[in-house]
Amino acid sequence: MFRTVLVSNRGEIAVRLIRGLKDLGIKSIAVYSDADRGSLAVSLADEAAYLGASPSSESYLRMDKILEAARRHGAEAIHPGYGFLSENAEFADACAAAGVVFIGPSGDAIRKMGSKIAARRLAIAAGAPVVPGTEQAVGDLAAAQRVARELGYPVLIKASAGGGGKGMREVAREEDLAAALRDAASESLRAFRSEEVYLEKLVVEPRHVEIQVLGDKFGHMIHLGERECSIQRRHQKVIEECPSPLMRQNPELRERMGEAAVKIAREAGYWNAGTMEFLVDRELNFYFLEMNTRLQVEHPVTELVTGLDLVEWQLRIAAGERLTIQQSDVEWTGSAIECRIYAEDPANGFLPSPGKITALKEPSGPGIRLDSGVYSGWTVPLDYDPLLAKLVAWGGSREMAMGRLDRALAEYSLAGIRTNIGFFREILADEEFREGRLSTAFLEGFFERSVSRETLGVEAEAAAAIVASLGEKKSEVADSTEISRWLAAGREQMLR
């Protein structure tokens, strides 16, 4: 096993990886930009290397600086996390050339699977069903218009190198195509350094279900079941769970999708952890969408339900160990649901809300796992993703997982910036969600259903008013002094 590993990422995933390294007694090296000097990852790592200015193009995307840091700190391997350089074949190759192990698949496998277009071809070769669409990057607007007409609207524009909804646009009418293409290409360029986009037929109200695969360098490959990620906003996952509520009525579906995923991965000569994304329509047909050739944001739900540590296996496999788990060893126990806690404002179109966290009390207790990258006093930079933390609840049943998640969300207090914490509690109260009737159109329907959202009770409003009247915008010192005065005044008369 490795003795020293560098984590070429930031935020909650850097913290999760550093924790995973510490759990195995491996020395952890963090990297940081100017904005991240005070990050939780830097303070938890054994060592930390400065990369450059805050924009990721000057720091987390700089292969040269990352490899130099690995050399200087004696790292034998680099874990890229997700995003940034994690699906960059060139970086995997550069690591190999520098004699550092890239913790992930080979550069070749990334090339085969990392481009959505190449992956489609490979899936077809492996006999897996795919969504109708272009096999190559669209050229100019005229070409795109031609393809879109053939597929029939609505169509979906996707970044070839992309993931996580970036560089993705739904287009319902031809007149919106030009603007959508421009935005998608520009977003893709910024996020993935590639303008290449392609078109796909839009499957209406599908479920988004993905399969986790894990394979070693000796050709042994298994799947760890599904994650249902249907609840998305602008193609960005918001809630993920395992098992998918679909599998309760259709237990054989997991097996069929798992087999398809393993076949595609084998076809690509893939090793390490990877995820096959599928759409599932109402008739339970599934279509291969794309592969993520890295650890997923939502990997904890799989870890909680299978009891396996995906990061541990990524490290072991990268170090050349054999995957000692057989497909029949894998069991799925209970139910896990994850909420992505974002710095965004649900009351204002979910716009980003970077800034300083002035108070924070994180939830904990039975069945709760929190992978957080923030702390009280941390200034959430505007240069990166708005993901603050992942709150995951496990329970013996889906009902228990929902109960624990709601309790943990109610305990989660975070002040200074806006987040979607309260929004999740509304989703958890939604009948459709509770019944597991999910699709990628879930949130649209939810926003319509919840027009007349229940407000707080009048007494809870009074509690807020009382606290607000203690001095809005006053310093904390004034605040607590004023409370003391009130308390002193009130104590004698207090009915007890």
Binding site: K166, A179, D183, S186, E187, R190, A191, A347, N348, G349, L351, P352, S353, P354, T358, A359, K361, L382, D383, D385, P386, A410, E411, Y412, S413, L414, A415, G416, I417, R418, I421, G422, R425, T455, L456, V458, E459, A460, E461, A462, A463, A464, A465, I466, V467, A468, S469, E472, K473, E476, D479, S480, I483, W486, L487, A489, G490, R491, Q493, M494
Partner: protein, 162 residues
């Protein structure tokens, strides 16, 4: 002490005397009784009313969280009642304001350009999310106050459309 309140978008008023309070909302709903306050952490207060427990945290500006539920909460002295800003629309002039802290990645029009309602004017990016600001009406761009790569604060006027 008596203050005007606006909680969750609805007006009301709050009277506090020693450990008693009376809160009345514009729709006539009333809560009143004894209360007990206890500061937990800075910015986080436990309020007991009739034995019921409310954990109130000061959230972002003008916002409270009550038992994890965010709610807009403002109070003002009735003698100095603030009027709400409505700078966005002044006699046909529309200020196009930055909706969030971020950076300008594209300016799509120039001063003097004629624009249609819904036409893109400027693209702001924060946290990898691009937000295209659209014209609220057909008209003309009379002023552009920003440029590519500028850092902007929420509410900052980027352009004016007339």
């Amino acid at each position: 002490m008596k203050v005007e309140t606006r909680i969750g978008g609805r007006a009301g008023n709050l009277k506090v005397e020693a450990a008693s309070f009376r809160y009345e909302r514009e729709d006539g709903a009333v809560a009143e009784g004894e209360f007990s306050l206890q500061t937990l952490e800075p910015g986080c207060v436990s309020v007991l009313i009739g034995g019921r427990s409310y954990r109130v945290t000061r959230g972002a500006a003008g916002e409270m969280m009550v038992n994890g539920q965010p709610v807009a909460a403002e109070v003002f002295d009735p003698r100095s009642l603030r009027s709400r800003k409505s700078g966005a629309d002044r006699g046909g002039r529309h200020d196009i304001c930055a909706p969030m802290p971020g950076k300008i990645v594209r300016v799509l029009v120039e001063a003097g350009d004629a624009v249609k309602a819904g036409q893109g004017l400027v693209v702001v990016e924060a946290m990898k999310m691009q937000n295209e600001m659209k014209s609220p009406k057909a008209g003309r761009v009379v002023e552009v106050r920003t440029k590519v790569d500028a850092a902007v604060s929420p509410g900052e006027v980027l352009m004016v459309v007339e």
